[in-house]
Subunit: 230 residues, 2 copies
DNA sequence: CGTCTTCTTGAGCCACTTCAAGGTAAGTGG
DNA sequence: CCACTTACCTTGAAGTGGCTCAAGAAGACG
């Protein structure tokens, strides 16, 4: 009906084998500050699938380096990226048995992995871990609600919110270094790639931001961005 | 910037005293199937505030009868209704100390109330209750993600999804009996009241639905609605 | 039977989409 | 080191779905 839109996914990228995953030589780390829940490090190539929607959720994940997108695709190919996961973020936690989104590495990424059943077993005894599980779900809920709120705003407002969020979550540098493409941004913000590009150009025109390179953006005027963010 | 929009709330309705709440004579009931967590019944009038955004979350709520909307208002007055809560639904659970949304009764409603501190105390010992807390948050997360996905669709698709959801959640009758106004629907779906009205008329025109009365809608052709729902 | 609220309908407009090039950057093989 | 390729990004011109503004109809209530 509506033609408005986002990428239309037809086929999946070449490497969708869900574990291209040459086991990384790297050591391992804890997921919940709990020595029992020590994750195995895995490496995912750019665009490699971490898991698919409605696959059984066997693992819980934590980004060590790189970036991950979680998304859903509608029957007609429109894609919505529900969230971006950056170093330090835990993702893939489910209460139910299967994943509600698909997940892919945006860039080459290192990800810690722990068996979900193990996490649950520990959570049964260790109420602190149980609490963390709930906490993580609650945090994601807030993000999701914030995201929904974003989707009723104008293109400028969406981009302003997006840039401020990324600036806050990415390592602090003089410029924001975006790991994702314009298409990813568009599919996250519910816009087309053209509108994203045009709006950024426009913000640069009023020198609210500076486009050093397409994925290197300096926030020149955060006040204006915050005002746009309502 | 964008004028696109929803209601612009300027002032609040008359009765915003947060507890117009003549304690209902009705008995009490359990919130989590746990006798320790027995709620006190309270009655809220139509449009009465149950709690406000960023108020401290002292209670957890369960709808007995009536209906509740949870919403957020942007600085310029645009409102987004994040969810409708119908009889049987628990709402107002927060991991953090304050509410992330405001809540209002849509119609005169009876609502069970339990102190949050009590729920938490019980959850510490009773892992089943702890699990339910997580479960409820997880369910709400799924709803929120589904809601975000809805917001990238066309007006027809949004209405189709909305009607099917309401049909599924409301008591089964020949017609769907909506408790909420067109404005509420608009603010939930990210549309204007005019678009909601026009789209319903249009769906009735193609006899996918029948508008028995403005808030009494018969779903004549669920297949078509489901197809619209992607 | 007026008054108020809610809902519907119409006409014009605008932000964002669509379609269509063109430009830039990064990688690859010679 | 440079031609070639491919992926990504930007820009322009035209179309359109949903918004705005405006008015009227239908209920609900005292």
């Amino acid at each position: 009906m509506l033609t408005q839109t986002q990428t239309r996914f037809r086929e999946t990228p070449a490497h969708h084998v869900s574990a291209v995953v040459r086991a990384a030589g790297v050591g391992s780390q804890m997921l919940f500050g709990c020595p029992e829940l020590t994750g195995a490090a895995m490496a995912f190539e750019r665009n490699a699938e971490v898991y698919g929607e409605s696959e059984t959720a066997d693992y819980v994940y934590k980004v060590v380096s790189g970036a991950v997108r979680t998304y859903r695709v509608l029957s007609d190919g429109r894609r919505q990226i529900s969230g971006f996961h950056l170093p330090g973020d835990v993702f893939g936690i489910e209460f139910g048995e299967e994943h509600s989104c698909s997940a892919e590495a945006i860039t080459d990424s290192n990800i810690l992995v722990v068996r979900r059943s193990l996490v649950f077993k520990v959570a049964e005894r260790n109420s602190d871990v149980a609490r963390q599980l709930w906490s993580l779900t609650a945090t994601e809920l807030r993000r999701s609600q914030q995201h929904a709120l974003l989707l009723i705003k104008s293109a400028q407002e969406r981009l302003a919110a997006f840039l401020l969020e990324m600036a806050a979550r990415l390592p602090v540098k003089s410029a924001v270094e975006l790991p994702m493409s314009r298409q990813d941004i568009a599919d996250h913000l519910g816009l087309t790639i053209e509108t994203v590009s045009r709006t950024l150009t426009q913000l640069a025109g009023s020198s609210v931001i500076e486009l050093v390179a397409s994925r290197r953006i300096v926030l020149r005027n955060r006040t204006t961005l915050s005002e746009l963010n309502s």
